[in-house]
Amino acid sequence: MVILVINAGSSSVKYQVINPEKEAVLATGLVERIGMSGAILTHRPTGRKEVRLSGEILDHKIAIEYVLSILLSKNHGVIKDKKEIDAVGHRVVHGGEAFSSSVLISEEVMAQIRACIDYAPLHNPPNLRGINAAKQLLPDVPQVAVFDTAFHQTMPKYAFLYGLPYVLYKRHGIRRYGFHGSSHRYVASRAARLIGKPLDELKLITCHLGNGSSAAAIKYGKSVDTSMGFTPLEGLLMGTRCGDMDPAVILQIMAKEEMTPNDATTMLNKHSGLMGISGLSSDMREIEEEYDTNDRARVAHDIFTYRLRKYIGAYAAAMGGVDVVVFTGGIGENSMLVRKNALKGLEFLGIELNEEKNKAQANGDRQINTSSSRVKVLVIPTNEELVIAQDTMHIVQEMKANQ
C-alpha cells in the first residue's frame, strides 16, 4: 500500500510517500515559501539524489500539484501513476473534543476541523487548505485526518480542566488538549516493543523535546496527562516559548509594557524560553556550547532540565510509578546533557542512567539505563509520518472491508 502523508503549514507543505506495511519511505520532501516570492520544492527520493525546483507556487493546491508531478516524474519519481496512491493521510493540529482518533475525512469532518479553528488559528486553516487541495487533485482517493490532539483525549477530566469557572469550559472549550499526540503514541508503542512487554501493562513517561517540547504520562497505553494545554504554550520550557508560569505575570507585563493581547502572544511564543532567558539562541546546541562559559546560557539550560525533572516526578506520582522514560525529538534524541541533567537525582524513583551509553554517539532506538535500573530509559527517534501512514492504512482497510 502506498500512502501520501501531507503536513500543510501556513506557507509550506511537507510530504512523505510511505509504504506502511514495510515501514518503507519511498520519498520525502518539502515545498517552502508558498504564496511568496521564490518558492522552492525540495524532493528526496530514497536512495537517490535530492532535487530542488523553484518557481511560482501561489497556493497549497499548486504546491500539491507540483508534488504529484514530481512523484510521477520519469527521472525523480517514485510512482508511475496517480492511481498507485492508495490514500492520503493529513496531519491536522487541532481536533478539539470531536476527535479521539484518526478519521476518514467527510464533509462533516471538515466542518468539525473548521469549528476548531478558534483553538488553533495558525494551524488548522492551512491544514484545511492542504486537505481541500488533495481532495481536488486526487478526488477518488480516500483522505484521512490524523490529529495532534487526539491521543490525549483519554486524559481524565481532573487532568484536563483548569481551575477556572466551569462555564468557560462549556462556553469556549477552555481546557487542556495537549499536542504532539502522534509522536507520544509512536514512541510509547515502540518502547513497549523494544523492551518486549505489552503496552497495556506499562507506565511510561514520554518526553518529546524539540523546538516545541512536551511530556506525557502514558498509563497502560492511554495518555493520562501531558504538559501542553489549551495551546502549545503550557508546560516545559521551549526554544522561544515560556511554558508554565503564573497567569498574573502576563497581566502585569501587559500593563507595565503597554502591550496588546497580540503583542503579549508574540512575546510569550517567540521571544521567551531558551531564547528569552539566554539572549543567545533558541537552539539547544548553541546553548550547550556556551553552558560552561555563559551564565545565562547555563541558567536557561538548567531551567529546561529542572522543569522536565519536575514533570517526570509529577507523572510518576500521577501514575503511581513509572516503568519507562522515553526521550525523543531533536533535543531528546541528541542532547546527552539534557538527558543526564533531567534525570539527575531520580535514582529514588528507580531511574539509573548509564553514563557511557548516554554519551555514546548513536542513531536509532537505544536503551541508556544501567542494567540494575528498575526503570528503562530509552532514546527513540520519533516518526510521526509513519503513525499517520499506518492510521491511514488501517482506516482504508477497514473501509474496504465494510464495503
Binding site: 504564496g35 511568496m36 516570492s37 521564490g38 518558492a39 523553484s54 518557481g55 511560482e56 501561489l58 509594557e257 502591550m259 496588546t260 497580540n262 503583542d263 508574540t266 512575546m267 517567540k270 521571544h271
Partner: protein
C-alpha cells in the same frame, strides 16, 4: 500608458537583493504606495507583512532613503519590545522596493497615495497617474479630512477612487475608515472592504463628509481639553487622568494630541472649521500659540507634556 509587468520588478535604487518571482494575496500582488512619510511607511509595512509586494514611490531620493530607514527602525523598535521577530522583519523588508519614478506606478495592482495632506498635491498626483496606470486600477487616497470627491475629480476614473483613512501607527491600529466619494462605485467599495480584511483591519463605511467619524469626534474633544487647560480649570496631568480613569480612555486627550502632533491637529481643525463653519471646530488659541512656538508634541520632545 507605460507597460505593466507584474512578474519582474527591476526597480532597485537601494540595491536590495532580488525579489525573484511574483507574489500574491488573491489578485493583488503588488501595491504601489506614494509617499515615504509616516503614513506611507506604516501602510507599506502593513501591506508587506500580509505577503504582498510593495513599491514605494517617493520623488525625492533622500526622502525615499530616509523613509525606508525609518521603516526599518520602526520594526526594530517592535522587535525590541518583543512584538515582532527578526524573521518577520526580513520577510517584510524583502517585499518592499523603493522608486523615485512616478511612471513606476503602473506596476501596482492597487495604488495608495499617502503624500502630504494638500488637496492640490493629491489632485495633481492622481491626474498624473490616471494617464499612467491601467484604466481599471483602483486609486486609494489616504486622507484624514479632505474630500474624496474633490480629489477624484482630477481623474477620469472617479468611480474607482476611494478613501482609506488609516490611523497612526498604521500597523497597530486595528481600524480603517473606508470613505466613499460621491461617485465611488459599490464594486470599488466592496473590493476595498475585502482588501481591508486581508490587511486584518476592521473597516467602517463612511459616506464622505468632512472629518469622517474619527477625526470629527476626537477633534472637538481634544480642543475642549485644551480650553480647560487654557482657562486654568485643571492641569494637563489632571485632565488626562480624569478622562483615562473616568471614561476608560487608554490615553488622555492631551497625550493623544501630543502623539498626533499639534500642527497636524490644528490643520484638521482648520479644515473642519472651514468646511463646516461651526465655532465648535475653531482651534483653541492655546493650540495656536503652541504650534507657533514649535512645541508640536512627541515629535519635537515637547507639547502638553515633555518627552525625552
Amino acid at each position: 500608458m507605460a507597460d505593466k509587468d507584474n512578474k519582474t520588478l527591476d526597480i532597485n535604487i537601494l540595491g536590495q537583493p532580488d525579489l525573484g518571482g511574483g507574489d500574491k494575496v488573491d489578485a493583488i500582488k503588488i501595491v504601489t504606495i506614494f509617499g515615504a512619510g509616516t503614513m506611507g511607511q506604516g501602510i507599506s509595512q502593513l501591506v508587506a507583512s500580509k505577503g504582498m509586494e510593495v513599491l514605494i514611490i517617493e520623488r525625492d531620493k533622500q526622502q525615499a532613503k530616509h523613509g525606508y530607514a525609518q521603516l526599518e527602525k520602526n520594526i526594530d523598535e517592535e522587535i525590541a519590545r518583543w512584538t515582532m521577530t527578526e524573521s518577520e522583519k526580513r520577510a517584510i523588508l524583502s517585499r518592499i522596493k523603493v522608486s523615485t519614478n512616478t511612471e513606476d506606478a503602473v506596476h501596482g495592482d492597487l495604488v495608495i497615495e499617502a503624500i502630504s495632506e494638500k488637496l492640490e498635491a493629491k489632485q495633481e498626483l492622481l491626474a498624473r497617474i490616471d494617464t499612467i496606470c491601467e484604466p481599471d486600477t483602483i486609486f486609494i487616497t489616504n486622507t484624514s479630512a479632505l474630500s474624496i470627491t474633490e480629489i477624484a475629480s482630477a481623474t477620469r476614473r472617479q468611480d474607482k477612487v476611494i478613501g482609506m483613512h488609516f490611523l497612526n501607527p498604521v500597523p497597530k491600529i486595528p481600524l480603517v475608515e473606508i470613505v466613499r466619494g460621491l461617485k465611488t462605485s459599490d464594486a470599488t467599495y466592496r473590493f476595498i472592504k475585502e482588501f481591508a480584511e486581508t490587511l486584518d483591519k476592521t473597516a467602517v463605511e463612511v459616506f464622505e463628509y468632512p472629518g469622517y467619524i474619527t477625526t470629527r469626534v476626537i477633534v472637538p474633544m481634544i480642543n475642549e481639553a485644551i480650553h480647560i487647560l487654557m482657562e486654568g480649570v485643571a492641569t494637563a496631568e489632571h485632565i488626562d487622568i480624569a478622562m483615562k480613569l473616568g471614561y476608560n480612555f487608554p490615553k488622555g486627550p492631551l497625550a493623544l494630541a501630543d502623539q498626533i502632533g499639534l500642527d497636524e491637529l490644528m490643520a484638521w481643525m482648520e479644515n473642519l472649521f472651514r468646511e463646516l463653519g461651526e465655532a465648535k471646530y475653531r482651534p483653541c488659541p492655546l493650540l495656536r500659540k503652541m504650534v507657533r512656538a514649535g512645541h508640536l508634541g512627541r515629535k519635537t520632545g515637547k507639547g502638553f507634556f515633555e518627552y525625552k
